[in-house]
């Protein structure tokens, strides 16, 4: 009996174990063993950083690639390998900054000082004014030399945001250090902007070494599917080899299915980056349970539907009939006046016309009630005022725009539960 129970437990455990493992992988908590399709960039960056760490050669480099192309992942892998080198261990200082966190040079300087554990740091507090901190840091960097002081790796995530700081003081100073015989530094910028160099001021630009590592994924669809398979497969060291074999087999089969391929193709077409793929796979993996212990087609289909669903269509599902009618009235106004803005009075008139002509199922609403419904749409930002600045105009006459596409409205109507037919017809008719 105890045997059976343990077997049952392990079934549940197996699934949850597999899920945990895959989720970890998909949520970027774990770096991959080797970045996919970035071998040359990997080598280049590793070599560059190795030279800074071992030879004390100052460098500066930008890693440029679209969002989700694996810049941080690449850097993480490189740093992992670099730190595992014996001659690098404990010989390198790492300073990580993020343009979204260190929004100006003052904060950035404090952060650098803190991470370097310079002597004006007590606990976690950095003392001194901005000017003092800058002078202190520069003095510290100036005192070092190529052969004896520890190289410092400055990682600037969202590099382009640093370029918006006043006078680009921080960038100038870091790059200036990298171009002079002071403490060896490597300045690593991560950015997704291709035009980042144009942001740099000419003096700063001149001090930058102009090394850029571009991460453009040029993988084919077949490779993409391979990645999917690899991402979903359980590793060979999974505790239960039988389960993992079954799982892997099912994943392989799944990838060969036509409908799955179609879903993947669609995603591949939309974007090649792995982050969006991961969110798709994550949703699919989350649907696996003890009762259905393998990943199936339906899971992926559902995940894909969730991912590619239109956000506004979902909002439209929650509207009342009156609000939906107002939206249709606006759509007609848009069609009539070719996208010109409208006001509440126009919408109300259009709505009244509809009620008078053919409505059987819809009550005659009082104007304040309609107004209330209109304001709800305004709150949902399905309608937006053209000029928010002008407030002298009465609310009824304020000019508005509909923030919905023609197709979105029609699709919402199709899916709306128990939508009155006359409303549907009104929507389909060419003119109100």
């Amino acid at each position: 009996m105890s045997k059976r129970r343990s077997a049952a437990l392990t079934e549940a455990q197996r699934v949850s174990l597999a899920q945990t493992l895959l989720r970890e992988r998909l949520c970027h908590q774990k770096l991959p063993d080797r970045p996919v399709g970035l071998d040359s960039q990997y080598k280049h960056l590793l070599e560059l950083l190795r030279r800074t760490a071992v030879h004390g050669e100052s460098n500066s480099v930008l890693i440029v690639g679209p969002r989700g192309s694996g810049k941080t992942m690449l850097l993480g892998c490189v740093l992992r390998e670099l730190m595992s080198l014996k001659e690098v261990q404990k010989n390198v200082l790492l300073v990580e900054l993020n343009g979204l966190l260190q929004t100006d040079d003052k904060i950035a300087l404090k952060e650098i000082t803190r991470q370097l554990h310079l002597e004006n740091v007590v606990g976690d507090k950095v003392f001194g004014s901005f000017a003092e901190n800058l002078a202190f840091l520069l003095e510290a960097l100036k005192k070092g030399d190529k052969s004896s002081s520890r190289p410092v790796l400055f990682v600037l995530d969202e590099f382009d945001l640093f370029a918006h700081h006043k006078n680009q003081t921080l960038l100038y100073n870091l790059l200036d250090v990298s171009q002079s015989a002071q403490t060896p530094v490597a300045v690593l910028g991560l950015t997704c902007r291709l035009d980042v160099l144009e942001l740099l001021e000419k003096r700063v630009k001149s001090r930058f070494s102009h090394r850029q590592i571009h991460l453009f994924s040029s993988i084919s669809f077949a490779q993409y599917v391979d990645v999917v398979r690899a991402q979903l497969s359980l590793p060979p060291d999974f505790p239960d080899p039988k389960f993992s074999e079954e799982w892997n087999h099912s994943v392989t089969k799944l990838c060969e299915e036509k409908s799955v391929e179609e879903i993947l193709k669609r995603h591949f077409n939309a974007s090649k980056d792995f982050r969006s793929l991961h969110s798709l796979l994550f949703l699919a993996v989350s649907r696996v349970s003890v009762s259905r212990s393998t990943l199936c087609e339906a899971d992926l289909l559902e995940a894909s539907r969730l991912i590619s669903a239109d956000s506004k269509a979902n909002v439209l599902h929650g509207l009342s009939i009156l609000e939906l009618c107002l939206i249709i009235a606006m759509k007609h106004l848009n069609d009539t006046y070719d996208g010109e803005p409208f006001n509440f009075q126009m919408v109300h008139n259009e709505f009244k016309k509809f009620i008078q002509r053919k409505s059987h199922s819809i009550h005659k609403f009082e104007k304040p009630v309609v107004m209330k419904a209109f304001e709800h749409l305004l709150q949902l930002e399905l309608v937006r005022p053209v000029d928010s600045g002008v407030c002298k105009v009465q609310r009824e006459y304020q000019l508005m725009r509909l923030m919905l596409e023609h197709g979105q409205v029609m699709e919402a109507l199709q899916r709306y539960p128990q939508c009155p037919t006359d409303v549907k017809q009104w929507a389909l008719s060419a003119f109100g």
């Binding site: 070092g144 003081t169 291709l194 000419k202 001149s206 669609r266 669903a309």
Partner: protein, 906 residues
């Protein structure tokens, strides 16, 4: 130390005391003995008289200048009162980088006897604040404790290069026979134990107050002429000579020193050498036993030595001193006689006296010996130290001293020997017997020796300081010199508790912690370059400092001449240097300063202070004041206070010690709305006493016209220089000179790089970076196919492509299908509208149509927006604020042709 402030704020009036004691008709000056200062609100007047130590109003309220009054005179009108003073410096006035030379923490009340020829020693009498008490503390004694805060202590001498032991004699009022030495000093000197020879020696080399002007002028003139003849080559040759001299061993060196035809026979240096226990012994034996090389030396010396040794030996208590003293004497004699033997014609006049026969020396000796018996009596009883004897003697002699002329400097050697003999008198008590037999002739010209001392000593001081420079340069490689050792060991171990010395830096009271900025050092040393390519890479790194700056010779010369002339004249001026980034502006200025500092170290030009600020390296233009002040005086202050202090420093007529050369990099960032920072920076050099040279660097040529208001631009003046971007030939030369015959590049490859960079920007940094990248590429490809191992055209091309080619096309090619479609939709919509801008809604319609054409499932609005945002984040599209949703305005950041080209090739 705020106690002085109150004095400053009060009005003072000055009045002569008594009748003039002398008059100079030629200069129409009347000399006085004392002056009284009456302060408003105080009943009794303060009186300052010759020989007294005084406080002089300076640029710092807390620490006024300290000096000893030497002369007081009024001009013919009788209104202007002028004082000639001997300066003392406080620790805070000593250049920051030299402070560590002291080797210990300064006492808070410690000051140093200041010895510098270039320093103006005439001050306006009305800047005198009052008298102050200065106490001489012998070098080996500790600072007396429990004294009033108002007493300052002087222990050492500062000659702008090093701290040395001060001879108390220097502290005597120079030429006032009537005024006795300050009573506080007398007993102390008397209490002095037998002074160490090193102390004596040091002391001998330091009288500046009485230095005759002619030698000074002569020397500086000589330096100048030498300098202007061929500035660099001369400097280099000289330094090379020095190096060679320094590298040889002590014995060889001694000979070199003595025989070399340089203007300075560094006797003093030799003295120092001989003081070294080891050398000394070998030398004595050599000189005594084997007449090596120069026979004349040994012959003349031996009797002396023997005598001395005989006589001194009975005195057991002083026996350790004995060999040193003999060494002194010997050396002294050597130098004199070697001068005789020297066959070469003399280069400078300062050498001539040494050519004289040895007789003057003997005269001096005799004179001394003749007097000694009388003194011996009391010295035998009191065991009076030689220093006191010297002091006394000087008083006796002083009237004649005023009549001293430069003539006296010839008998250079006798002085040292005579002094030593005096000391021997005291020590041995019998040494006088030595000369008894011979000093019959002119035994009554004792003063002469002392007369000569002034000029000689000055000369020695020079030699000494020069020597010390050499020592500094190679300290560590050589065995420590005995002078250094004795100087530091002579000092008593610090008894003053540390908590007392801590407030010795009262200038930085605001910083609670004295954190030292530093980066931790690495555990393993950095690896050296392994192969040719790595070596080339190291040399091509922008940070590596080349031996010379090629292609900027003209600019170098211009800046050099400008700064040098200002430094020599002691005037101020501004210069504006412009040029695009990477054209070597800052590097050239640094090079100029380096070589100027080199010549300053060799005393070819006066010393100057170099300060550098960078507009980019400060957070606010007003921080410039703070940084300048801190680098100048190590003071910390708020911007406003710093501005006031600097204003005072550069504006006040107080005597300045050194010219300041200020380099202002990235000038344009010092722009403020009122432009007061720039105004001040350019205004200070125009002040009469500022002695400030300002070199400014910025990128644009017309900066003064563009951003400066008239009064600022006018003060900047018209001394401008512009650095042209490098031409391809120059760039090529730069790389070649950096590689320095290291064969790593093919000739064509270099030319390609330099032509490409010259065509684009002429930025040398860019050029070097490309070359560095090319070596990397070469290294990588080299492992695959076995090429020549040199960096070739292909590598350079690849590096150029990497750095200069636009990445947009590659980005479009690698974009996903929907992204490419969206770009096409954008172009289609632009064509339809005939505008370069469209809203997302319009583009989206096009996009959906295109999807249908391509047979793809149409995307939803959310997906479409996501695609659009992705393109926007790469800056392939320019998007307006993201809240606009459907009405988001879209523009292309790439040309339509580029997009079509990229998509077509797909």
């Amino acid at each position: 130390m705020s106690r002085y402030i109150t004095r400053l704020r009060m009005r003072r009036s000055y009045k002569w005391n008594g009748k003039p004691i002398g008059e100079d008709r030629k200069l129409k000056r009347q000399y006085y003995e004392s002056m009284s200062i009456s302060v408003e609100g105080k009943t009794e007047d303060a009186t300052v008289s010759l020989g007294q130590c005084i406080l002089i109003e300076g640029d710092d309220d807390d620490n006024p200048f300290v000096a000893q009054l030497c002369k007081l005179y009024s001009d013919d009108s009788g209104k202007k009162k002028t004082a000639v003073v001997q300066w003392f410096v406080r620790m805070c006035e000593v250049p920051q980088n030299k402070r560590k030379l002291l080797g210990r923490d300064p006492h808070p009340q410690e000051i140093f006897f200041y010895q510098d020829h270039s320093c103006d020693n005439e001050v306006d009498g009305e800047t005198i604040l009052g008298a102050v008490q200065i106490e001489y503390v012998p070098a080996e004694d500790s600072f007396p404790e429990g004294k009033s805060k108002d007493i300052l202590f002087v222990k050492l001498l500062w000659d702008t290069k090093s701290f040395r032991v001060l001879d108390p004699e220097l502290m005597q009022p120079p030429q006032s026979p009537k005024s006795p030495p300050p009573p506080s000093r007398g007993p102390q000197t008397r209490a002095l134990p037998t002074p160490e020879p090193s102390v004596m020696k040091r002391a001998m080399s330091g009288t500046l107050t009485r230095s005759s002007m002619s030698t000074d002028k002569l020397n500086s003139g000589e330096a100048e002429s030498l300098h202007s003849a061929s500035k660099l080559s001369a400097a280099k040759a000289l330094s090379a000579k020095r190096r060679s001299r320094a590298s040889s061993g002590p014995h060889v060196r001694k000979k070199l020193d003595l025989c070399s035809p340089t203007k300075n026979m560094s006797r003093d240096d030799v003295l120092g050498e001989i003081l070294d226990e080891h050398t000394e012994k070998t030398l004595t034996s050599k000189l005594n036993l084997s007449p090596t090389g120069r026979i004349s030396i040994s012959i003349r010396l031996t009797p002396l030595n023997l005598n001395e040794e005989e006589r001194v030996s009975p005195l057991s208590s002083h026996s350790p001193e004995k060999p040193k003293l003999t060494a002194h004497e010997k050396n002294d004699a050597t130098s004199v006689f070697l001068g005789d033997d020297d066959p070469e014609p003399l280069v400078s006049t300062s050498r001539t006296p040494r050519k004289r026969e040895a007789t003057p020396r003997r005269e001096g000796l005799r004179g001394l010996k003749a007097r000694t018996p009388s003194r011996r009596k009391d010295s035998a009883a009191l065991r009076e130290p030689a220093l006191a004897a010297l002091a006394e003697e000087e008083h006796e002699d002083s009237p004649i001293q005023t009549a001293a002329t430069p003539r006296s400097k010839r008998k250079s050697a006798q002085l040292v020997s005579s002094r030593i003999r005096k000391q021997l008198n005291v020590l041995g008590n019998k040494v006088d017997l030595l000369s008894d037999g011979e000093d019959d002739d002119d035994c009554f010209i004792p003063t002469k020796t002392d007369l000569q001392s002034s000029s000689d000593e000055e000369e020695e001081a020079k030699i000494d300081s020069e020597d010390e420079l050499i020592v500094k340069k190679r300290r560590g490689s050589r065995t420590p010199r005995s002078i250094e050792k004795s100087r530091f060991s002579a000092r008593t171990p610090r008894k003053t508790p540390i908590k007392k010395t801590a407030p010795a830096t009262p200038r930085t009271p605001r910083t609670p912690r004295h954190a030292t900025p530093s980066i931790p050092s690495r555990s393993a040393p950095a690896r050296k370059p392994g192969n040719v390519l790595e070596e080339a890479r190291t040399r091509l790194h922008v940070s590596s400092i080349p031996e010379s700056l090629p292609c900027r010779e003209q600019e170098f010369q211009d800046i050099y001449n400008f700064v040098e002339s200002k430094v020599i004249d002691g005037t101020g001026g501004c210069m504006y240097i412009s040029g695009v980034p990477g054209t070597g502006k800052t590097a050239t200025v640094h090079e100029v300063i380096r070589s100027l500092q080199q010549s300053a170290e060799q005393d070819e030009i006066p010393h100057f202070h170099f300060i550098e600020i960078n507009g980019m390296k400060m957070t606010d233009p007003h921080q410039a004041y703070v940084q300048i002040l801190q680098k100048l005086t190590d003071q910390k202050a708020t911007p406003d206070h710093a501005a006031a202090l600097l204003e005072k420093r550069f504006g006040a007529p107080a005597p300045k010690k050194e010219t300041t050369v200020l380099l202002v990099d990235e000038l344009d960032l010092l722009w403020t709305r009122k432009q007061n920072v720039m105004y001040n920076l350019f205004d200070w050099p125009t002040r009469r006493n500022a002695r400030l040279v300002v070199l400014t660097i910025a990128n644009t040529m017309d900066l003064p016209e563009r951003i400066m208001i008239n009064r600022v631009a006018s003060r900047l003046g018209l001394t401008r220089m512009s650095f042209q971007p490098y031409t391809f030939k120059q760039l090529q030369q730069i790389i070649t000179s950096r590689l320095n015959r290291l064969k790593a590049f093919e000739e064509d490859a270099l030319q390609l790089v330099s032509r490409k960079v010259a065509a684009l920007s002429g930025d040398a940094r860019r050029c070097l970076d490309i070359c560095r990248r090319a070596t990397e590429i070469c290294e990588h490809s080299g492992s695959q196919k076995n090429g020549s191992g040199l960096v070739g055209m292909s590598h350079v091309m690849e590096a150029l492509d990497e750095m200069f080619s636009s990445s947009y096309i590659a980005a479009i090619r690698c974009a996903s299908v929907q992204e490419q479609l969206f770009l096409r939709a954008v172009i289609a919509e632009f064509r339809r509208l005939g505008l370069e801008e469209a809203t997302f809604q319009q583009v989206f319609v096009q996009h959906q149509a295109l999807c249908r054409v391509e047979g793809l499932q149409p995307v939803s609005v959310s997906e479409g927006l996501a695609v659009c945002q992705r393109l926007g984040s790469c800056r392939l599209l320019l998007l307006e604020g993201s809240r606009l949703d459907l009405f988001l305005r879209i523009r292309l950041n790439v040309s339509q042709d580029d997009v079509l080209y990229a998509l077509k090739a797909d």
